[in-house]
């Protein structure tokens, strides 16, 4: 019996033994292990260097403005006044708008693909959705400029007529602005939400679902009663991961948001995001202060995405630990 059980243990022993090298590790093996460890360390160093670089290159801005940099609204590179609030506002609002559209669509797709659709259909549609994630963002931006923006411009007067009692839907119909940016961002994050939510839903144990089927539940009742509650933290993780993408997305947004540093209650008005201002102004930064302020915006964006992505991984891992 002992010999029959052994093969199962061997792989883990092989790996475990490698982690704690024995006294008789050969010279060549030692060299090899240290060699690949150096590359692993390089990645650690690279990530640390990125964070340090952002902090060092932006120290001038933090020194002269402090944290008021984050809630000051004036951005005047020539006059030497730098405040990041309009960019923070544009990034957060366009990302929130994108989530508002992409979450129902993505989670709905995932439910259909994981729980309801026949296997063949599910595989084909999943592949199409994954390909959507591979479309370069500059191409989506191109579609945005010439296709989406005219549509939005045509639709805005109707939105004002029906929903104009909300300040969100008032203002001149430019086409370019927060609404167009949110729409195009939602297309970019939709595949992440759909694909990861589908994977998470596929991990729901069959016996749990069969238990409810045995009580005579319909498929939708099983989805609502078992699958969604079980997968909740994973789906939330997928949404946070998508949010991380949306916050940092640059090209497509830059091309349709209008690049105007202002804070306006209307979704129709042009705005600006953190990534867009870096993309537009860094190559022609007018002074060291300007450069430093742009890097400070980069650091803020970096911090934001690290927190959001960390939360996402935590939520997804919590599900894996249980499964």
């Amino acid at each position: 019996m002992a010999t029959a059980a052994a093969p199962d243990r061997i792989p883990s022993v092989a790996r475990g033994a490698a982690a704690v090298p024995g006294p008789r590790e050969r010279a060549g093996d030692r060299l090899f292990r240290l060699g690949v460890a150096a590359f692993a360390l390089l990645i650690l160093a690279l990530t640390a260097a990125l964070a340090v670089m952002l902090a060092v290159e932006s120290r001038g801005t933090w020194r002269s403005f402090g944290f008021s940099f984050l809630w000051s609204t004036e951005w005047d590179p020539i006059g030497g006044k730098f405040g990041a609030l309009p960019f923070l506002y544009g990034t957060l609002v366009s990302s929130a708008l994108a989530l508002l559209i992409a979450v129902p669509l993505g989670v709905g797709s995932a439910i259909f693909l994981a729980e309801l659709a026949p296997r063949r259909v599910s595989d084909a549609v999943s592949f199409a959705i994954e390909l959507l994630a591979a479309v370069p963002s500059v191409i989506l931006g191109l579609m945005g400029i010439f296709l989406l923006v005219p549509w939005v411009r045509a639709a805005e007067p109707f939105l004002t007529r029906w929903l104009g009692w909300l300040p969100l839907f008032r203002g001149a119909p430019y086409g370019i602005g927060l609404l167009a940016a949110g729409l195009i961002l939602s297309l970019m994050i939709l595949p992440y939400i759909a694909a990861i939510s589908r994977e998470v839903l596929l991990t729901v144990p069959r016996p749990l679902k069969e238990g409810l089927y045995a009580l005579g539940a319909t498929r939708w009742e099983v989805v609502r009663g078992v699958s969604l509650p079980y997968a909740r933290s994973g789906i939330l993780g997928a949404i946070f991961l998508a949010l991380g993408r949306a916050l940092g997305e640059t090209m497509a947004v830059t091309m349709v948001i209008g690049n105007t540093p202002q804070i306006s209650a209307s979704l129709f008005s042009p705005a600006y995001t953190m990534s867009a201002v870096i993309a537009n102004e860094l190559a022609e930064a007018s002074s060291p202060d300007h450069l430093s302020a742009l890097v400070a915006i980069g650091l803020t964006l970096f911090g934001l995405t690290v927190v959001v992505n960390g939360l996402a991984r935590l939520l997804i891992r919590r599900l894996e630990a249980r499964g």
Partner: protein
Amino acid sequence: MTGGHARRRRVNALMFALTALCAAVSAGVLFAILGYIAWKGASSLSWAFLTRLPAPVGETGGGIANSIVGSAEVVGLAGLIGVPVGVLAGVYLSEFGGRGRLAFWVRYAADTLNGVPSIVVGLFAYALVVLPMRRFSALSGAVALAIIVVPIVLRNTEEFLRLVPGTIREAALALGVPRWKVTLRVVLPTARRGILTGALLALARAAGETAPLIFTAFGNSFWGRSLLQPVATLPLTLYNYAISPYDDWHRQAWAAALILMLFVLAVNAAARVWLKPVSGGAS
């Protein structure tokens, strides 16, 4: 579940239809995008467009040959830098790291790096290469793209190496083969297909990246003469043409988008076909 049977069936059918609609919209968006690009791009695609330099501003005609070559150059160099680093670090994580503390932090760093917005990676490459050298260059663009490629290749390599059965390692070690040789000659070749496919997909993603190239590779209306000169790249040229006021440049932007899209689609389709036998054989 207190409602009548018929009502419950109706709710079930309704939700089925609603979620199916969601999936249809999501997948439909892809086909709408592909179809529209093919329609707008195909009419402007020609041999001259692929082989000529851009025409001077204001003149019609010209091509994007320098951007295509420049993209190949920058992405190729990024692959030469990024893929070996990612693969070797992946070898460490899978074969030596285990659950150790270094491995934990390396995975954490890679996941963090993977989530960093590409524009911020561009900032890093700018500070790392452009500022010290005082010039925009193909090299700095390649460094930026390499940093984007590394974490993807790393996690992909680790995953595929973990799929290699431990018994294969044991068998080779039992023959007295040194561990480094087992890793290089037995383990890596077994996982080769998955690792290469992952690297290819990562490079396809890098080929479409625009934001980190704006202030690194910068762009160029002519051929980039060396890796230390600014160079034109396909996505950045597309961007500049798209936001320009000239109709002729808009036309060329669509053609460039078609080329970029075809490349990305080809790599993704190839990866899918190439990987299928492996996942089938493993299970």
